[in-house]
Symmetry: C2
Subunit: 758 residues, 2 copies
């Protein structure tokens, strides 16, 4: 293979580097109305009145719309079904009204002039208090219905599945509690009692923002047939189509979604503002574009949610990890979208085989945002708890922490916490490779206040169905059509797959993507599932088109199909490279005026039968300032099974980016609210992300244990890459100081308090 | 079948009737520049200088571009490769410059201010004189290269094919002559000598405009990658892509063509102004839209061209038509596009089997327009000559004119004038049905000055290769994707084909079409070839998707595939209609988050192996005013083999429209030039079309002799429908008056002169 497995620059790099890429914010259709949002000032209140007159008097302001003005036809407990607050404000920053104007400035002035009269309601923020019976409700107005589509992405099987032995949840809870979600197997109490050691702890994690470079943006253009075309910075064109058509009661084909280039997403761009601009455009009959400012994106976004995790685990020297008991509260914010409250009860098992477990989780409705899908949803949170206790258990048992993990690594046929069998998983291979890593070897000879820690994470990977087509043009060029969005360079991998499968130079492949009007059904780019499935569909489509070509060329060249090959854009008899004829030579004949044979149009369809989990270990080397508690990351390594690196350059980029975001989770990032639910860290002045000077060199050491499912053995790798850092850095801090920090992020004050508590 | 074969309203009717359809002229992208053309005042001249300054001084004018300003990369003898005159004006009305401005009015004012300084050259107009050695050249500047893509559409095999016996063309010709194109078989002189009767005559036909309701329009938007997106009122999205990419030296995938709804075309909308707006947009880097006015469309369009036909034919009472000799001059105007100068030498044989023929034709380059593809190109012209002489021969032989035609009808295996065998053709069936028509029976009992005439025409039909896809959406809706343009309701037939093939209600089918970025390769809508090929691809794509559905449903329902059927959107066991589950029930499962099976994505590819010619007879009943020569059409009938009427309502509409256009050819329409090459009939004040009060009731009597190739037996029917009227009305005039009119259109003065000559 010429391209698959080779470092390739992204096919969109040139445009992006030259500033030529046009994002949704660059689109200015005729008649465009600019939109700005009126965001709620309070965290919880009833909306008594919205005074629009002053705003409407601003020159250029065309309309001020509230929930009643949008032609919604469906209600559900997801934020995407309540684009503007309906009578009740449930978090500070929630969009209450949208102002449409001929200019951006007029829209801004209009927003300033809108007055929202409210009556305050109790603000619900504390997870444990919120689920106590008698707690005030975070939502007074309950919306029924089942959540759709969101969490399913992250959990392989129903999170409430499992066998008969699941223990009942203890005690009554308030209406703010969603769940309990319970998983279990075996007699945990007995298993723990039989362990050589048992450790336990309670851990807290923070809300964390996805911090994509391009804030959320979308443009909706009403169509004359009553439908709408949405140009969106979205991860899922068909996803948006499905959700928006449901919300506004339109047939799915009346909603056309064209995915525009993404300026980053990381799970956060899933139909957040598409419903708002669509409703506004339908209401006023003109194109409406909204692009959030960074502050609005902080205030009104859908970040990753905070957890409280109580965990107890036990093991034996002979068997390693044996039994686990957990109770997790996941702050799902004020809505049901994407919350992985059920998923964390499964993920808490990590990449290990256990004999007995009892895992309970609740979603907790609070007056904060809603949960978004941030890379490896739930992962950094569960790793932070589980992997610290695994280290503590190793210490109690007197065994090497990596050896304990190796000994306990999940193997095919072990049971996942949802009761399903583990598919093929390279947990042991990754841990063994980690044991050999030079950085890990350095831990015995460190200066004072330095430490090296390790942790493991696993992402099961989404199993989306997908289809794709592959057209051969008259010049021999290949057009791959997919409905999937290019994220993190997936189109470059798709082009490489098509080029190698068909046998043409990469420059002859074009990937046309993500227009729901014409593309084959394709999944969202998320859950580490898009290359895994769509890559395979594209391979099949290219092979199909190639088979058609060879069938035609065979007759034309009077050479058996089996004696023909396509190499570098030439169809040639095997062994006679100089007798080749170009792909275009044949393609031109079947796209001309007189039919010689049908055009070459390949089609691929794929349904991954099994997930191919990716396992990653992170090694962190830190120094802790004993006087301030400040943690400095000195060195870092990622060891991950990627199945097959389709484009090693992109794989390294993914793994490095994951490490950086993992460091952010561990040490810096936190969306903080005050006791009234006001966001304290709503700009980069307050919200810390790992700047370049805070990130060490990240060593990438991937291994390739091929998947039997993904294209050329590839596995989905994006999410696993971000999970282990919270645990590795916490364990490194413990190694450096002997102190355990049980709250994220591990800021200097928290570390200092832990040092002093010790 | 529920829909195929049933009268269905067009799926685009509602939008069109409500005025909701957006044509290219309604598109106003951000930054749009309006364009107007500077048209040549002379018919032939060198361009010495173009003075732009006054135009550029007009407020709002942004640019004045001439040929040198367009980034062309290719030259060829087609007008579409010379969007603006290069140094030499070759017809009055030729675009010389394009003025771009912020408003339409400014562009108009700019055009007025442009001065084109020229030096006159001899104007070449007369066909016979033009090909004499020593004639001045209609083009001083010759452009080499072969013509591509155009004429091939209308002629099945190479027009210069045929066997060894073809006689040499007589005498030398000037450089204005293209050809000779020669076809022949047997010893024509001997065959004629052995005939019972021989007739001959010379016939002249006029240039005729296509008269679509929407004048030509296109919009080009430059793309940041150096490419361009063209929104065009075009019949062929992939055709425009191919030609424009060649002209501007762009890779084909850099040119994206989106076909917008057509307000009529009839063959005339093939890349006439797309090259102009594309060049302008690329030159200035802004979107450019041009929509011709009606006067500009007359002056600068590409209508059907005039012919001079010398014809001699002979027959016997025993064998019918036996031998034919012809020499045809076809005015191809100043360019090579679409000229059927070779095709007419083949078509002149009509739907008959001949023993011997000798057929020569020339294209003649003159200082008039260029030839466009107007419905049945060459057909009305050859029918006018051939069918009059067939009638005269019948008279000489003393046989019934229809019986002579029946006796001579081409049958499968007879030889077409290009030397290929006739495919299955229902000439005899159509003529026999015509013999039974009540209108034909009336000819014996007419008042004075009335007459009934008949004529036959045949169109071989294009054989385009095509592909299409068929996607099943989660709601059970079907999206058919084709790159073919909806013309004359083809999308409605496509929807019916998909609905019946798959088994869903018509309302669940959507046809998404003609975007070259994503559509499967598809042919232009023309040559009566689009339903014939694309209809079959769509049937195959729908069947493919249905097979996928049944395969999945079979497993889900535990019923064998062979025991399942899809009826009215429900998958059900045969014989158990109440056990059905909706298509959406299954489709939703394979488009969800977790793969159960791949999405349903059907693909069809088709290459018609053989043409399926359609034969039509027209019967005209006329009255001729003996004092003025004015011809009134009193009654009219069309008898045509359509193979299978996929939508009888549309078939009737097609045949009626063909009859009306045929009446226009026969009696009214003529683009006249004066001796300087100035167009005299450049508006509806001078150019006569058959108004409603000039058109009688048109009786439609189609028969269905199924094609073995087209979908459900359908044949391409559009072109055959327009051919026979010239001959039928001429024969009716002769029947009414005994006088033969040998020039089109048969206006009152011409008929009066014929009456008086007799």
């Amino acid at each position: 293979m010429t391209y698959v497995g080779t470092d390739l620059p992204r096919i969109d790099a040139d445009d992006k580097l030259r500033g030529a890429t046009r994002y949704v914010g660059d689109l200015k259709p005729h008649g465009l109305l600019h939109a700005r949002l009126v965001l709620a000032m309070e965290a919880h209140a009833t909306i008594d009145r919205v005074l629009k007159d002053d705003a409407l008097a601003v020159p250029g302001v065309v309309a001020v719309l509230t929930a009643e003005d949008l032609p919604t036809a469906f209600e559900g407990p997801m934020r995407q079904f309540e684009p503007l607050a309906r009578g009740e404000i449930v978090f500070a920053g929630q969009p209450v009204a949208i102002v449409l104007a001929e200019t951006e400035a007029a829209a801004e002035d209009g927003v300033e002039a809108v007055v929202v009269e409210t009556t305050a309601l109790p603000v619900v923020l504390d997870l444990e208090a919120a689920i106590e019976p008698g707690s005030p409700a975070a939502r007074v107005r309950q919306v029924g219905g089942v959540m759709e589509g969101g969490a399913a992405m992250h959990v392989e099987a129903g999170s409430d599945g499992g066998d008969e032995a699941v223990p009942a949840a203890a005690g009554p809870v308030s209406a703010n509690a969603v769940g309990p979600h319970q998983q279990g197997q075996g007699d945990v109490a007995a298993a723990l009692a039989g362990c050589d050691a048992v450790v336990r702890g309670t851990f807290r994690t923070s809300w964390v923002s996805q911090i994509y470079m391009e804030p959320q943006g979308a443009l909706a253009i009403p169509e004359v047939n009553g439908g709408v075309t949405i140009h969106s910075a979205t991860q899922g064109a068909f996803y948006v189509r499905g959700m928006v058509s449901k919300l506004y009661g339109l047939e799915v084909d009346k909603v056309r979604v064209v995915a525009e280039p993404l300026g980053g997403a990381f799970g956060g761009k899933f139909n957040l503002i598409d419903p708002i601009v669509t409703g506004a455009a339908l209401a006023v009959g003109r194109p409406v574009r909204l692009q959030l400012t960074r502050s609005e994106d902080f205030a009104a976004g859908m970040p990753a949610s905070a957890c409280v995790l109580e965990l107890e685990l036990g093991g034996t020297r002979a068997e390693g990890l044996v039994a686990l008991r957990s109770r997790i509260l996941l702050d799902q914010g004020a809505f049901g979208d994407w919350a992985v409250d059920g998923g964390v009860a499964v993920m808490i098992g990590g990449p290990y085989g256990w004999q007995a477990w009892e895992s309970t989780s609740f979603g907790v409705v609070t007056n904060r945002f809603n949960t978004g899908a941030y890379r490896g949803p739930g992962g950094p949170q569960v790793v932070f708890a589980l992997e610290q206790l695994v280290d503590e258990l190793a210490q109690e048992l007197g065994v090497d922490p990596l050896e304990l993990r190796r000994q306990s690594a999940a193997a095919e046929g072990d049971t996942v916490f949802d009761g399903t069998p583990w598919p093929a998983v390279a947990a042991r291979e990754v841990i063994e490779r980690t044991q050999l890593h030079p950085l890990w070897a350095k831990r015995g000879s460190l200066p004072a206040n330095e430490g090296i820690g390790v942790a493991a994470g696993v992402w099961m990977g989404a199993r989306f169905p997908s289809a794709a087509t592959c057209r051969v043009d008259q010049d021999g060029g290949i057009t791959v059509v997919t409905g999937a969005v290019d994220m993190s360079g997936t189109n470059t991998s798709f082009a490489a797959i098509a080029a190698d499968t068909f046998g043409v130079p990469l420059s002859q492949v074009r990937v046309s993507y993500a227009d729901t009007a014409t593309a084959p059904h394709s999944p969202p780019s998320g859950g580490s599932g898009v290359t895994y499935s769509v890559g395979q569909s594209i391979r099949l489509a290219a092979q199909d088109a190639k088979d058609q070509l060879l069938d035609f060329a065979s007759g034309q060249m009077d050479v058996a199909v089996t004696d023909l090959e396509v190499v570098d854009g030439m169809v040639r008899p095997v062994g006679s490279p100089d007798r080749g004829l170009s792909v275009g030579h044949f393609a031109a004949q079947v796209t001309g005026f007189v039919a010689v044979a049908p055009p070459l149009e390949g089609r691929g369809r794929f349904a991954p039968g099994n997930p191919s989990p990716s396992v990653a270990c992170h090694i962190a080397h830190v120094r802790v300032d004993p006087d301030t508690g400040e943690v400095t990351t000195l060195d870092y390594a990622v060891i991950q099974d990627v199945g097959k690196a389709l484009n090693p350059a992109l794989v390294r980029g993914q793994l490095q980016g994951g490490a950086v975001q993992s460091i952010g989770w561990a040490l810096y990032e936190e969306l903080q609210h005050d006791e009234n639910g006001q966001l304290l860290s709503g700009s980069f002045m307050q919200y810390a992300v790992p700047r370049a000077d805070l990130v060490p060199n990240v060593q990438i050491d991937f291994i390739e244990v091929p998947s039997a499912v993904g294209p050329f053995g590839a596995k989905g790798i994006a999410e696993a890459a971000v999970m282990a850092g919270t645990g590795a850095i916490a364990n490194a801090v413990a190694a450096a100081t002997g102190a355990r920090v049980r709250e994220l992020p591990m800021t200097a004050p928290r570390v200092w308090r832990a040092l002093n508590a010790k």
